[in-house]
């Protein structure tokens, strides 16, 4: 196998930014992206932007004080006014 060209590295790096910030790349793959990003403004900025994006989205509170409506079991109660659950698929 030949050495990947710079354009190969660029495309590959862009395709793996998400995995990179997840820490899912192996050591060799991580080094490949690090090496490429050192000389590529777009990918260098891309890694920072992807980290910032994940941080920002993770900052959304999963609950934010919202409560489920009191009516959430209404249909279940209506359905059980006369029977037990069946084993049908959902």
């Amino acid at each position: 196998m030949g050495v990947p060209s710079r354009s190969d590295d660029h495309q590959w790096s862009q395709q793996h930014l998400s995995h990179y910030v997840e820490g899912e790349l192996g050591l060799r793959a991580r080094r490949r992206l690090d090496r490429h990003a050192l000389g590529c403004v777009d990918c260098g900025r891309g890694t920072k932007a992807m980290r910032a994006l994940v941080y920002a989205v993770q900052g959304l509170d999963g609950l934010a004080g919202v409560r489920a409506p009191a009516t959430i079991f209404d249909r279940v109660r209506l359905a059980t006014s006369g029977g037990s659950p069946s084993a049908q698929d959902v």
């Binding site: 930014l17 920002a56 989205v57 919202v66 959430i72 109660r77 037990s84 659950p85 698929d89 959902v90």
Partner: protein, 200 residues
């Protein structure tokens, strides 16, 4: 972020396993106790996926009804939470198909975004940050349902890739691909400059 916030096991009067067994035997009280432990979080998920409170309430009722009707077939190969969430994602997708359009333009209002604030009192920095919140809300709203589901489950809900993939009903490789696409689209919509300068 607290990845598992709101995900609490039923209390001491009944372990989850015993509540499942009782619910499978037809005890609706046990079912409500079992599923009620996840109700707030499940409802918030539906709000994020559907964007409209009225529709989320309707779908939440349908999710519980389907869970009740299906609990006899629950075999415990996944956690009850994962099983229930999967029903919720399926029902949300059905609702979106019925709706025949994407979620409203900004279903998650900026005021509902609980982003950690910038460590500054600088008004211009705060303005940049608020603009990032609005842009993020718009970008998430514009995603197709499958990509939106991926980023909500993994990044907002903080689920593991394995669990999120199971809930989304796809393999882990396919899920990672969706997540990557979702992040790349949001990144493109917001722009690297705005993300790096406002989000860091």
């Amino acid at each position: 972020m607290a990845p598992l916030a709101g995900r609490r096991a039923p209390g001491p009067a009944g372990t989850e396993a015993s509540l499942i067994a009782r619910a499978q035997a037809g005890d609706v009280g046990a079912f409500e106790r079992l599923s009620g432990a996840y109700a707030d979080r499940l409802f918030m998920l539906l709000l994020r996926l559907l964007g409209e409170r009225g529709e989320a309430e309707d779908v939440a009722q349908e999710v519980m009804l389907r869970a009740w009707r299906g609990i006899g077939g629950f075999r415990g190969t996944s956690s009850y939470f994962t099983w229930l969430y999967r029903i919720a994602v399926n029902e949300a997708n059905r609702a979106l198909e019925r709706r025949g359009r994407r979620p409203p333009s900004v279903p998650i209002g900026p005021d509902e975004l609980r982003l950690p604030g910038p460590a500054t009192d600088d008004p211009s920095r705060q303005a940049e940050f608020n603009e990032l919140r609005r842009a993020l809300a718009r970008a998430l709203a514009e995603l197709p349902p499958a990509l939106r589901t991926a980023i909500v489950l993994r990044d907002v809900e903080g689920l593991s890739t394995q669990e999120a993939a199971e809930i989304a009903g796809v393999g882990q490789a396919a899920f990672k691909s969706r997540l990557h696409q979702a992040r790349m689209r949001v990144r493109a919509a917001i722009g690297d400059e705005a993300l790096v300068t406002s989000g860091g």
